[in-house]
């Protein structure tokens, strides 16, 4: 049997989609290989979390418990889990490629003297338990298929929005294990002073997305108004997020999210590699750019050469009341 562990990233009783997506993918792989899926979490009290994870398809849940796990700190978490990993020696450990997942997995791989494949967009496991991950490089133009034949566990972080989570099913059953972790002699150095979380929509699931590119400057209003009229969620390119005009969570591209929408309408982007890898899976792409040579048109179904600020009033007028 091949043992795979999935980091359950969670706050309260809601689990990050990416963790559930990884579990979904591993369940698909179960059709061909003998695979056990263990979810693990580090926290202060288990609550409903183990049951929820099981209802989404883990066979086994390990809750590592310590008062020091009340907020995320990589040093604390790595110290908290490394003994258990050494003892159980799973073949594979997977983390969402979120801020936290990447931070945690990188340090853990160094501790365990093993390799890590980051940001995987494909996951395959052969019968011997060798993990093949597809890791995008150069902004997503190439994918390197990575293997680690040298050490265990094989660790990888997985990009969100690539795999499908399973439907929640309360009748699924699984084993729940609670492990009290004693961090003897460990002196926690990092202190959490403040935490701000906004409720931001996960646009990897949106059907309609309007993307604001750098060409919009600081004037996002007309695009936002247009998006509202067609019932679309907003995404942005990196420079727009860099300028603090939008949260990183809705940045599209290699260091942001990948869309899966039916329609993506892009205003004022030059179509760099790092960006277009995020719109590959959209069914229809429409772009508006003032420069007829903008590279974004090479990645678009419908191309409009126009100044967005002149075009948008007509578009908004045409839509007025119709939707």
């Amino acid at each position: 049997m091949i043992n795979s562990w999935v980091y359950i990233e969670s706050e309260g009783s809601s689990i990050e989609d990416v963790s559930l997506e990884i579990i979904g993918r591993l369940n698909e792989l179960k059709n061909d290989i003998d695979l056990k899926i263990t979810g693990f979490y580090l926290g202060t009290k288990p609550g409903d979390l183990p049951r929820i994870a099981i209802s989404y398809g883990v066979d086994h849940f390990i809750f590592l418990k310590s008062d020091l796990f009340s907020f995320y700190d990589s040093q604390t978490f790595v110290n908290g889990i490394s003994d258990l990993v050494r003892e159980r020696n799973p073949d594979i450990m997977l983390f969402g490629a979120t801020y936290q997942g990447r931070d945690f997995a990188g340090r853990l791989a160094a501790r365990l003297k093993t390799g890590l494949a980051a940001n995987a967009i494909s996951l395959n496991i052969d019968k011997k338990g060798l993990l093949y991950t597809g890791v995008p490089g150069y902004g997503g133009r190439f994918i390197a298929e990575i293997v680690n034949m040298k050490a265990r566990p094989q660790i990888s972080t997985v990009r969100q929005g690539i795999f499908k989570k399973m439907e929640r099913d309360e009748s699924r059953s699984g084993e729940i294990e609670i492990v009290d972790v004693e961090l003897k002699g460990f002196n926690q150095k990092l202190k959490l002073l403040e935490r701000k979380k906004l409720d931001i929509k996960d646009i990897t699931k949106s059907e309609r997305v309007v993307i604001i590119g750098n060409g919009a400057g600081n004037n996002l209003k007309p695009i936002e108004e247009f998006a509202k009229l067609i019932g679309a969620d907003i995404g942005v390119t990196r420079p727009v997020a860099d300028r603090g005009l939008a949260p990183r969570d809705i940045q599209v591209g290699s260091t942001g999210v990948s869309l899966n929408s039916k329609i993506a309408i892009i205003f004022g982007s030059s179509g760099s590699n790092h960006f277009v890898s995020g719109i590959e899976r959209c069914k229809f792409v429409i772009s508006v750019d003032i420069d007829k040579n903008s590279n974004i048109f090479n990645y678009s179904d419908y191309c409009v050469v126009a100044d967005m600020f002149k075009l948008l009033p007509f578009l908004i007028k045409r839509m007025g009341g119709d939707l």
């Binding site: 990050e16 907020f71 995320y72 700190d73 990589s74 040093q75 801020y99 990447r102 990188g106 791989a109 160094a110 501790r111 003297k113 390799g115 890590l116 980051a118 093949y132 597809g134 890791v135 995008p136 902004g139 997503g140 133009r141 190439f142 994918i143 390197a144 298929e145 990575i146 680690n148 050490a151 150095k189 990092l190 202190k191 959490l192 002073l193 403040e194 935490r195 979380k197 067609i230 420079p239 990183r248 260091t255 329609i263 760099s272 790092h274 590959e280 899976r281 229809f284 429409i286 048109f297 090479n298 990645y299 179904d301 419908y302 191309c303 002149k310 075009l311 007509f314 578009l315 045409r318």
Partner: protein, 263 residues
């Protein structure tokens, strides 16, 4: 403040790298190189700290000899010193031996308060090296940082989390990675650049200088291997241009959008 060490990587420009479909390898030979963008933000952040709290900014890089000219750009921006870790045996390293080699050099430099990395490199783009350096040095870490404050041996930073941010505080020495675009890197000073090109000598350390062994560095010290490269073929798009006056374009666009939405 004591030494501020900035880890700097030189990377090929993404757009210049090509794929050879026959050999199934990447061709970087024609690519123009540059300092990894986020590392420029790291250098800027270090210089700003130095200006406020004193200390020395030391650039540290592992790579081939041609990196030298790029480290001199960092010197011209205002860094005080630069060390290039260069040895044939370092080639082909994945993040584990990269971080190990850098961490070993950091110990050798000594007397440091802060290690600043970029959030990730634009070529492989793994963002693992900072976390692994912190582990090898047994230091606290905060990644994806967008602002920094220092006082009384403590560093307070704002780090990104999903959907927001946290403010965390750690005693120094500590390791941080800064977000791409967290500041506006200054231009190299022209006079300083001339001085750097003519007179500044950077230190070059090899495997022996670091007391490392063959099996620990480079390809041999790596755990992950590229089984094969796959070029991603972007989906074929229609690329239909919508012509006419602005009003006509808007009307046609409207029809197209409505058709897609109702399909």
């Amino acid at each position: 403040m004591r030494n501020i060490i900035v880890c700097v990587k030189v990377v090929p420009k993404t757009e210049d790298v090509t794929f050879d479909p026959v050999t199934k390898t990447l061709d970087r030979s024609k690519a123009e190189n540059q300092i990894n963008e986020a590392d420029k933000n790291a250098i800027e952040a270090a210089i700003v700290l130095k200006e406020k709290y004193g200390g020395k900014v030391i650039l540290l890089s592992m790579g081939p000899m041609f990196f030298e000219q790029f480290l001199k750009i960092g010197i011209a921006m205002g860094a005080d010193d630069a060390i290039l870790l260069s040895d044939r045996a370092f080639a082909g390293a994945d993040s584990y031996p990269t971080a190990l080699t850098l961490a070993t050099a950091i110990k050798k430099i000594g007397d440091y308060d802060l290690i600043i990395c970029g959030e990730e490199s634009s070529d492989a783009g793994l963002g693992q090296v900072p976390s692994q350096i912190a582990e090898f040095l047994d230091l606290p870490q905060a990644l994806f940082v967008s602002s920094i404050e220092v006082s009384d041996g403590l560093i307070k930073v704002k780090r990104s989390i999903r959907g927001g941010h946290e403010i965390v505080e750690m005693p120094m020495p500590a390791v941080i990675s800064v977000e791409l675009g967290m500041n506006q890197p200054r231009f190299p000073d022209f006079k300083r650049k001339r001085w750097a090109d003519k007179e500044f000598k950077l230190k070059i350390w090899n495997m022996k200088d670091l007391n490392l062994e063959e099996g620990m560095v480079g390809l041999k010290g790596s755990y992950t291997f590229v089984n094969r490269f796959i070029e991603t073929i972007p989906p074929q798009r229609k690329r239909e241009f919508i012509e006419g006056s602005l009003e006509e374009q808007a009307n046609k666009l409207y029809e197209i959008i409505m058709k897609i939405l109702s399909s």
